[in-house]
């Protein structure tokens, strides 16, 4: 046996690991993004100053500081945009699917190439975590253009036996929760089918739509095919009331949706609405619980709960309520709330101060109605900007305001049930019908629940899964019409 190696090497002090807590260091996304001081309206292929001569500020919700001044379109500006779209319509629709597809492919590629910049801008303007804009919003926006590029020259196969024709000029109004993604949802199918559009992004998040206009310029999209008018609710009213549209598409609150529907109810005009929701999440005792917890987290705290299909009502089978709450609290503690540009942030800033006040008042109402607030995530919130801790409430009754109204924030109402019948009854007891989630290990029960739940989208053993090929939309007061998939194309063609 050889000699033992010298003591000098063997008897060094041994340091078995570190015992202090291991915290993630700040990991800010540092891609620089140029933001101009002012952004005009994008009409007829060029950026122009508004006839209104009015501008408004768009803020960074994480700091409360302004990012840029953006044109506020009045009725004359909207008029210009509609005329430009009307003028562009004949040549765009006659161009043919193959040629239109090329433009859509180019737009998709440019979105991919500029993805990092778009993600950072989306996060700065809207407050959502960079990991969401980077991994979900922007890739999905590109995906929508790719997907619809594929359809552009195959429309007659989408509608067997029919000859699909464009509808004409489309007015499109989109919300602030997924700014670029919603723009893609609206614009991509419209262009694929040969329509031209006027898009109004939300007043708190106009910057990525305006970047998209730059991309249209880069790919030489013919002038007037897409026009982007920015502004607040009044601009939206001008759009909704304008007689020059053949179709209106709106995504936003049910309240505004009603007004849009009223305004649209003149002449021969198509309408699709994607509105609010109060989507139920039903967890049976036999469910894969840890994955159900992930579904709950993803369902309500994704994008600070600013999601129309947020799983905001949780129905838990009574026998597992304690277990679910314990796991949910354990999981909630790991959520990282804070700087949206930090790559490890899970929950970002609330989009705007009005929304923050609304969320806070709902949580207060909930407690005064007798519900118990669980706010176990005790991370220090940043100063400045608009913040709300993710939370959930137990002891909620189906009649409580927080179990009925759409809160559109990181607030979950937890209720229980004993039988599948009771779960169904409670889940369907809402004016909304956008989405629903069912969690059970039993296949037959999934089909039974999916058949009887009143919702446009039903996810089973998962939640918030989106793809361009999968139609999305609601029933009841959550709207009508579908976006995505073959069903979504139907909203942009005449047969």
């Amino acid at each position: 046996m050889p000699d033992r190696i010298p003591d000098s090497t063997t008897k060094v002090p041994v340091n078995i690991g570190t015992t202090s807590a291991w915290e993630y260091a700040p990991a800010p996304e540092r891609t620089p993004v140029e933001i101009e001081e002012r952004y005009g309206l994008y009409i007829d292929g060029e950026f122009r100053s508004p006839r209104s001569r009015r501008w408004f500020e768009t803020m960074n919700p994480a700091t409360g500081k302004p990012l840029a001044r953006v044109a506020s379109a009045n009725d004359k500006d909207v008029d210009d945009a509609v005329s430009a779209a009307r003028k562009a319509l004949p040549s765009w629709s006659r161009l043919g699917g193959q040629e239109r597809a090329k433009y859509l492919f180019r737009i998709a590629r440019r979105i991919q190439e500029r993805a990092r910049e778009l993600s950072v801008l989306e996060t700065m303007d809207g407050g959502k975590p960079i990991k969401e804009s980077r991994d979900i919003d922007i890739p999905l926006a590109a995906r929508h253009f790719f997907y619809h590029a594929g359809w552009a020259d195959k429309l007659q196969w989408a509608f067997a036996g029919a000859v699909p024709k464009p509808i004409g000029v489309c007015g499109q109004i989109i919300p602030w929760n997924f700014p670029l993604l919603m723009a893609a949802w609206k614009i991509a199918p419209a262009l694929a089918c040969g329509n031209t559009c006027v898009l109004k992004p939300a007043e708190t998040t106009p910057l990525t739509a305006l970047r998209l206009a730059e991309i249209f310029e880069e790919v030489d999209l013919p002038p007037g095919v897409v026009n982007i008018v920015t502004g607040a609710g009044r601009t939206g009213q001008h759009l909704a009331a304008h007689p020059g549209f053949d179709k209106l598409a709106f995504t936003g609150s049910t309240e505004v949706g009603r007004k849009i529907a009223e305004a649209a109810a003149v002449g021969d005009r198509r309408l699709t609405l994607e509105l609010g929701g109060k989507s139920p999440h039903i967890i049976f005792a036999d469910a894969a619980l840890d994955q159900a917890i992930e579904g709950i987290v993803h369902g309500i705290w994704f994008n600070q709960g600013h999601v129309c299909c947020a799983g905001s009502r949780l129905f838990v089978e009574e026998s597992i309520q304690e277990e679910v709450i314990r796991r949910l609290e354990h999981r909630m503690r790991t959520l990282r709330v804070g700087d949206p540009l930090d790559k490890n942030t899970d929950v970002g800033a609330i989009n705007n101060p009005e929304q923050l006040a609304k969320i806070a008042s709902y949580v207060e109402t909930g407690q005064s109605e007798g519900a118990t607030l669980h706010e176990v995530n005790n991370q220090k919130l940043p100063s400045g900007g608009h913040w709300f801790r993710p939370c959930f409430l137990t002891g909620v009754q189906p009649s409580h305001v927080i179990a009925r109204d759409e809160i559109f924030g990181p607030v979950l109402a937890v209720m229980t049930f004993r039988t599948p019948e009771e779960a169904l009854k409670r889940a369907n007891n809402t004016p909304y019908g956008l989405a629903a989630g069912v969690w059970t290990d039993k296949g037959a029960r999934i089909f039974e629940m999916a058949r009887r739940l009143e919702a446009g989208v039903i996810w089973c053993n998962t939640y918030n899964q989106f793809d361009a090929a999968s139609p999305f939309g609601g029933i009841k007061e959550s709207g009508f019409g579908r976006e995505g998939g073959r069903h979504g194309l139907r909203a942009y063609v005449q047969l």
Binding site: P2, R4, I5, T9, T10, K11, V12, P13, V14, N15, I16, G17, T18, T19, A21, W22, E23, Y24, A25, P26, A27, K131, D135, D286, A287, A288, L289, D290, Q291, A292, E294, G295, H298, R326, H330, T334, K343, N344, D441, N461, T462
Partner: protein, 304 residues
């Protein structure tokens, strides 16, 4: 035993989310050193020689001979076949680096129980501090759970007070539900032999002889089983992914997964280990790069 069904879609989505964690600067520096201190430096080849084991033991104590500002931690343990335990003991005794030995008919476990128990007993007698046992997959997959549990209890009684790591060989179990069931079975069987202290019992993914070995979703299922046992009893079971973790980055992803599933309490070699060999040199490369701002060549490190 309460059934804990697992659903692949959200499990894999959650496991993938840890690979999106951005571990930078101080967190990276600390994480890499922490990971190094958690390595069970392993050699399990038919060709293992006493010289190779001695070299591995020296590396375990001092992972790198070069100059570095802050001294490097030793790795947690050296893991060898039972007949090489005496060789490892000569070098490691008194250093704090543990001697782990695979036993119980590793890797297949396809031997009579008496042979497997004697294998484990002899490894302990030769000086092993920790025994990495394999479960009887034949019996488990055939549904003879009680037989598997009884064997675990017997091994545990045989090797006590040496620590026990129970290898499930997740690559042979077929799906996540089964991995969860095997985890629960192993933990409950070991816990039923009497009171156990934190870190006395580990569950371990693989032998390293079967692919796939330690995948992140499989490890996550096992961490969830450990967490549920902790919820129910307050006892902390350890976790050891083994096989397939070769990069420092993958190690950091695992640490993030442990942190967010079980908490910081588990971020210690007493409760978490990496069964690996080539991982060590990649950790060293990254640690040194943070200090010197350049990568060392592969030949600057001794074989692991």
């Amino acid at each position: 035993m309460v059934a804990h069904p697992v659903d692949a879609i959200m499990l894999e989505q959650r496991a993938a989310s840890f690979t999106r964690r951005s571990i930078k600067e101080g967190a990276k520096k600390q994480g890499l050193r922490l990971a190094l201190s958690m390595v069970d430096l392993t050699t399990l080849e038919g060709s293992d020689s006493p010289e190779k084991v001695r070299s591995l033991c020296r590396k375990a104590i001092r992972p790198w001979e070069g100059d570095i500002e802050q001294p490097l931690p030793s790795v947690a343990a050296v893991c060898v076949y039972p007949n090489l335990v005496p060789t490892a003991k000569e070098i490691l005794e008194g250093t704090g680096v543990k001697i782990a030995s695979v036993a119980t008919g590793f890797p297949s476990g396809q031997y009579p129980l008496s042979v497997r128990l004697r294998d484990a007993a002899e490894a302990v007698a030769a000086g092993a501090d920790e025994i990495d046992m394999v479960i009887n997959r034949g019996a488990f997959l055939a549904g003879r759970d009680e037989e598997v549990a009884e064997e675990i209890r017997e091994v545990r009684s045989t090797v006590h007070p040496a620590h026990l790591k129970i290898i499930l060989e997740t690559g042979e179990l077929g799906n996540y539900d089964t991995i969860r069931r095997a985890s629960d079975l192993a933990i409950e069987a070991a816990a039923s032999t009497g009171p156990i202290r934190d870190g006395e019992i580990f569950i371990k993914t693989s032998t390293g002889k079967i692919a796939p070995a330690a995948t992140m979703p499989a490890v996550l299922v096992m961490l969830e089983a450990i967490r549920d046992h902790w919820f129910a009893t307050g006892v902390r079971i350890g976790m050891k992914p083994a096989g397939g973790i070769r990069r420092a980055k993958a190690a950091l992803h695992h640490l993030a997964m442990v942190k967010e599933t079980l908490g910081d309490d588990w971020l210690t070699p007493n409760l978490f280990r990496f069964g690996a060999s080539s991982l060590t040199n990649d950790l060293l490369r990254q640690i040194i790069r943070l200090e010197r701002h350049r990568y060392m060549a592969a030949h600057d490190f001794s074989e692991a």
